[in-house]
């Protein structure tokens, strides 16, 4: 079997809530994606949702490495992709391209075997721990409470992650709201907080210590900059709460300082950064070091497949327990606070081509891009609470 063709289709869709974090309190209302399809001479195709900023790199890899290659040779292809970008490093957009292609190849491999991806990876479809993640710093307190109430009532979530960082009073209040909403379903919900690198290590230590007086936290995510392995370690040494970091690292090598210095207590990986091949490598290394792994948000919650084959995965992030767009459907369902993966071949992502045609765009608009707002002023220095204009824009429908 050979890879003979690639198709990439960009699309945009409206979000069900205004999404943003400490760096974007004005939020965004739209998101984007790319349906990447690797098509073989035997008609089977592998799908990946991602890589929307990396189309030139994806096409270059296709011409140079994928075309006429056997899609089952994922390791060899991964290695050639990584080596292609040796000098500049497989980071940034090149890394987005590698990751998106790697996911499509794994989808293809499972489909060739006529089995779901979790089985290709050797898993046995146990239910997977998950937590609800609002990623919605812009929405008001009532909307936040209602969202977590729905997560609790309808899907049974027993854990939630709150975006924090700009206003300690507000963060404490919202933490309480999240706790109360999730308490409807269980006695002791797990509360995670995420400041998205907005704080310095000492700001984190002060703010999270205060939270710890009232709440037991599951982790504090990205409490210092991604490369500040000593700062992260200092935070961990000073708090009861575990430090979670890694979502912005691209490769196994990027994690080496964390590993050497034990900077993080929980290692966060995501197929969007490392592909599935890289995620498995990082999980193995973390496993050897007795560090748990958590998987970030993923389109169609496909991370539930990977979690099935990782010995040290603690939980998977779910920002959207139901498909966030009509463009594709997923075979992963959330029930009773767990993800259940079905038996459809591959990742179980099925594209609705009619909807894709309706949502198709030639170019992703700036406001629907993956990180439309950049880093916020004050980050790493002092907190600047959201301005009236930001609040007003963030809460507009």
């Amino acid at each position: 079997m050979k890879i003979t063709k690639i198709e990439t289709t960009l699309f945009e869709y409206k979000l069900d809530r205004s999404m943003g974090d400490a760096n974007s309190p004005m939020g965004r209302k739209k998101a984007s994606g790319c349906v990447l399809e690797l098509i073989t001479d035997e008609g089977i195709s592998g799908i990946s949702i991602g890589g929307q900023n990396a189309l030139p790199q994806i096409n270059s890899i296709f011409d140079g490495i994928l075309l006429n290659n056997d899609p089952k040779a994922i390791f060899s292809i991964w290695k050639r992709m990584v080596e292609k970008y040796f000098k500049g490093g497989h980071d940034g957009i090149a890394n987005d391209a590698i990751s998106a292609i790697d996911v499509a190849l794994w989808d293809l491999k499972a489909k060739i075997n006529e089995e779901p991806l979790w089985k290709t990876l050797g898993g046995n479809n146990n239910k997977v721990n998950v937590y609800a993640s609002d990623i919605a710093l812009p929405i008001n307190d009532d909307d936040l409470f209602n969202w977590y109430s729905k997560m609790s009532d309808k899907f049974g979530f027993k854990g939630g992650k709150l975006k924090v960082g700009l206003d300690q009073e507000s963060d404490l209040k919202r933490l309480e709201l999240m706790h109360n909403a999730l308490s409807k379903n269980c006695d002791d919900p797990i509360l995670y907080v995420d400041s998205n690198e907005y704080w310095s290590p000492k700001q984190t230590i002060r703010n999270v210590s205060e939270m710890e007086e009232r709440f037991t936290l599951g982790w504090i995510e990205e409490p210092a900059r991604r490369w500040d392995f000593l700062g992260l370690k200092k935070v961990s040494d000073s708090l009861q709460t575990p430090v979670c970091a890694g979502e912005n690292l691209d490769t196994l090598g990027d994690f080496l300082p964390y590993f050497h210095h034990r900077s993080a207590d929980v290692i966060q990986v995501s197929h969007g950064m490392t592909g599935i091949s890289g995620a498995l490598q990082i999980a193995d290394a973390a496993y050897a070091l007795e560090l748990p792994v958590t998987l970030g948000g993923s389109s169609g919650i496909i991370h539930a497949h990977i979690a099935n084959a990782i010995p040290n995965c603690i939980t998977v992030e779910v920002p959207h327990p139901e498909p966030e767009t009509k463009v594709f459907t997923s075979d992963v369902t959330i029930k009773d606070g767990y993800a259940f993966v079905g038996n459809k071949p591959g990742m179980g992502i099925e594209v609705n081509y009619e909807e894709l045609a309706k949502h198709k765009v030639e170019k992703v608009s700036q406001k629907a891009g993956p990180s439309p707002y950049g880093r916020r002023p004050g980050a790493g220095l002092y907190e600047i609470p959201p301005t009236k204009e930001e609040i007003s824009e963030g809460q507009s429908k």
């Binding site: 089952k72 994922i74 060899s76 010995p311």
Partner: protein, 388 residues
């Protein structure tokens, strides 16, 4: 598909020549071999060229399970032996089961394991290894010459008891491999016979004459400070790991940068465990090298390890029960073919013959440690090796 049964074949096998190292320089030509067969309801049988009676403790975990779910089964076995640890007999059985399950997984897809693991380069660089402290100088030269004729340009020699003899024998290996290349890679292996300081003294003396690629197990497997001390004091890389059981055992070695090369093997918790250890080492920029194994099936796994250097090959003749194994070495590489699974096919007639043969002596088991190890060098005894 479901796992329905297993069969464990254990038999004595007389080797073509004895194997020996610094702990048993006189060598040993009789071994216990075993083959584990895991059977499925669809007629596909997975095999592993190892295994022991402890498999029966694991079997309830496997029974009626889908063999493709090899990771989950591995995890259940590891969790099952939690308290006593993945060690000893349990460890050997766990590795065997995992290998047989990977063999099935590849056979279900009608493909060789290298393809299941995602490779499209079905070859693996190899180095020759005598495991023959007992071999005469001529036999040693002949073994490495034969390997050099197959393009093998790297070799590992057993040493440890007599520095002058060791240096001479390293020269013999170098000379033989020079047929394949201008500067052969030489590895030395003293199998934990030396103390830290003796290792530094001896390796430094050897390094005055030869450029050594790695020095294997210069001190004990768990002495991470000692291994690091050796590495800090010699030019050659320090390699170790063949006697460790699973990824956790590598923790202190890797965290303390105690080894420059890790010896990995599917005996370390199977294919699943070997890959975990390799990925761990990969994160730390440490290369790995796969150990010798019956039928050379480790080469399949090596094709999908990004930080793999080369695989050890020995040829004592441990494959008499097989009609097919991974034995095609040319230009210094082991070339793998498309035989489904790990590339081994059992010849049932030969196996029956082996099982029924009358051998009125017992294999030397376990392999003990030599007097003086880690303390002083206990010289060769009279006639202990025929070349002295």
């Amino acid at each position: 598909m479901k796992i329905i049964d297993y069969k464990l074949e254990i038999y004595k096998e007389i080797l073509d020549r004895p194997l020996g190292d610094s702990n048993g320089p006189s060598g040993n030509d009789l071994i216990y071999s075993s083959i584990l067969k895991i059977e499925t309801d669809e007629g596909i049988t997975g095999i592993a060229p190892l295994g022991n009676e402890y498999v029966k403790e694991f079997f309830p975990i496997l029974e009626n399970e889908d063999p493709r779910e090899v990771f989950s089964i591995w995890k259940k076995m590891i969790d099952f032996v939690f308290k006593g640890g993945d060690e000893g007999e349990a460890h050997g059985a766990l590795s065997a089961v995992d290998i047989a399950l990977w063999d099935i997984k590849a056979k279900i897809n009608s493909e060789p394991l290298w393809k299941t693991l995602g490779s499209n380069e079905p070859r693996c660089k190899v180095y020759a290894s005598d495991i023959g402290y007992n071999l005469t100088d001529e036999e040693l030269h002949s073994f490495f010459s034969k390997m050099a004729e197959k393009g093998v340009d790297s070799g590992k020699v057993k040493i440890g008891i007599s520095l002058d003899d060791d240096i001479r024998r390293i020269g013999i290996v170098y000379d033989a491999l020079s047929k394949a290349t201008k500067r052969p890679r030489i590895m030395i292996d003293s199998n934990e016979y030396w103390s830290v300081k003796k290792a530094i003294q001896n390796i430094r003396k050897i390094e005055e004459k030869f450029d050594i690629f790695w020095a294997e197990e210069p001190v004990r497997r768990w002495d991470y400070k000692g291994l690091k001390m050796v590495s800090d004091n010699i030019k050659a890389a320090v390699s170790t790991g063949e006697n460790l059981n699973n990824v956790g055992d590598f923790y202190s070695l890797v965290r303390n940068q105690a080894a420059d090369v890790l010896n990995v093997s599917s005996y370390q918790s199977g294919v699943t465990g070997l890959r975990q250890i390799s990925n761990f080492a990969y994160a730390y920029e440490i290369p790995v090298t796969t150990m010798n194994c019956i039928g050379n099936y480790n080469a399949h796994i090596a094709t999908s390890i990004p930080n793999h250097i080369m695989m050890e090959v020995v040829d004592p003749g441990r494959e008499k029960a097989y009609s097919k194994w991974n034995d095609n070495i040319s230009d210094g590489y082991l070339e793998l073919d498309d035989t489904p699974g790990i590339g081994l096919i059992v010849d049932e007639d030969s196996l029956d013959e082996l099982k029924n043969q009358k051998i009125d002596r017992e294999p030397k088991k376990p392999w003990g440690r030599r007097k003086g190890a880690g303390l002083y060098i206990h010289d060769f005894e009279k006639d202990e090796v025929k070349w002295k």
